[in-house]
Structure formats: structure tokens, C-alpha cells
Symmetry: C2
Subunit: 152 residues, 2 copies
Amino acid sequence: MGVTVDSDRAEDLLLEHQLCFALSVASRSVVAAYKPVLEGLGLTHPQYLVMLALWEQSPRTVKELGEALAQEPATLSPMLKRLEGAGLVTRERVAGNERALAIELTDAGAALRERALAVPGTMLERLELDREMLQELNVSMRRLIDAAQRAA
Amino acid sequence: MGVTVDSDRAEDLLLEHQLCFALSVASRSVVAAYKPVLEGLGLTHPQYLVMLALWEQSPRTVKELGEALAQEPATLSPMLKRLEGAGLVTRERVAGNERALAIELTDAGAALRERALAVPGTMLERLELDREMLQELNVSMRRLIDAAQRAA
DNA sequence: CACGAATAGTTAGTGCACTAATTGTTAGCG
DNA sequence: CGCTAACAATTAGTGCACTAACTATTCGTG
């Protein structure tokens, strides 16, 4: 009774047992929780991540941003045009390498950082996390990312 | 030296410290790792989740599926049409309530379950996870989902 | 120097995911 | 009974994310 064996694969198909399901829902739910906070900055969540990358280093090429954000250039290309349209970044060919495109913060883009400083703290609170849990979850996620990328 | 204070919010803006970033990348990476496996079944990852829900219970209305999958009906509607096109489900109005749409597995849809039985084991292996780590991650994700949904 | 391979970015096409607006059905209530 | 409010699904519109195909540079080697 209540025996569980390795070959009990039927239970494995339960939606509630799928890590991929929990992960997808968690990602969507967390992004949704950011939404009202980021609206104050006029950013979507993916755009917020781009801005975080640029606040660390600007200018950067599309390729470099793609590596930092684990995104395809084809995904970033239209996003960066929207950020340019919002007046937060400039898009200019790199002098000396006409292939590469330098994405650089405008003054407004750099200034936005001040208002963004409050976001992480606000979100920690909203997600009922302390810094220790945050740390642990980050480590878990990183391990999972590494394994998943090895698998692909 | 190396002092960290509560108000050190500048560090909080580092991309690498963002749980939301790690979570998004993990979700995308894990889904990408499923892709080659699910291609054998002719399913995308979101479609796979719908099938898991239906293998547990069929028929179900669009609304019920949305609740089980934490998805908007507007997201499911076109997906279900694609699954219908693939011959895996039928879409018929519920007798006695013409508003609701009953989504039901076809024979082919039910039969696909047999081939799906191997997926979870394959993926655990590919993601280098054992059942214990899976369990722990699932618990963490669920907690996060609850908090995020309370926040929204 | 010239030409083919590699590189950087964009475009096209598909599918998800969300919000808001719409259509059609049902239920409740005066 | 009739009318309104609630409900279930769909459609329209925007933005992400990915693959594949394409354009324009640059590099490397004969």
C-alpha cells in the first residue's frame, strides 16, 4: 500500500509534479507581480532587464547584451528600437566596425536608474522574501540554468 | 572593507542578483531543453502542459483548463484550435450550457499519453536532477507562485 | 589584392501571453 | 415575462521569444 517504485511513471505525468510547469507559472507570476511596479518607470519586464544590463555597462553591442541576458539578437533588435523610441537608449554603429551596433544610455536612460533603485526592495517585500531566501533561490536557478543549457 | 548594509541598494540592481532574471532564464532554458524531446510528440511545451491537464481529466471546459494551468482563456483559445487541428482534442459546446466549450481528448490524444510517459524521466536525467531535488524545487516554486499571486 | 568564410544585426514567420473589447448565453430579479 | 447583470469564450492588438533566411560588413588566406 502506498508503494512507490522507480517505474511508477504514471504519477510522473501529473501536472502538479512537473517542475517545468511550476517554473513557467512562477516566472509568469513573478513577472506579473513586477508589472505594476515597472509601469511607474514605463518599462516592461524584459525592457527592465535590458536597462539593468546597460546600467552596469554602457555602451554595449547587441551581441554583448544578448550574452548578458541570454537572449537572441533577433529578440533584442525590436526591443531596443522600442527603448530608443522611449528615449532611453541610442543605437549607433560602432566606429571601426560597421557591423556592430552600440547601444548606449541617453541621459534620460541613465537618470531612470535613480527611480529603479527602489524596485528590488519593493519586490522583495511583495514576494515575501528575505535576502537569504533570495540568495538560495538564485543559486538553485543558476544550477538549473547550467544543467538545462548543457542539455540543449 | 566589504561592508554590506541594508541600504546598499546599488548592488541590488546588479543583473546577477535579480531573482526575476534567474527565474526567467531558467524557465526559458528548461523549456528549451524540453523542445527536442517534445518534438517527438509533435507538441510545443505549452501544448504539452495542456495535454497533461487533459490526461488527468477530460473533458474539461476552457475555463477549467485555464484555472488548472494558470492561463487566460484568451491564451488557450488559439492553442486549443491548434491541438484540434493536430487531431488531439475536440472542441464542442457543453450540452445544457451553450456558453461553455468542452475540450475532450480524441483517441489519438489519449493514445499520445503512452509516448509521453517517458518524458519526465528523460527530462530529469537531462536536467541532472534526482527526485528529491525535484521535490524541493517544486516546493520553492509553489511558495513563490503563491506570494507572487498575492502581490498582484 | 581578391574572394570565400565568418560575423553582427535585421527581417519574416510562428507561437505564447496578456489586456481590453466583443459576442453570445444564462441567470436572477423586479 | 422581460431586462439587466454575470458569465464563457473569442477577437484584436501589443510585446516577447525563437528559428531560419537575408544583408552588410570584416577577416583570413592564397
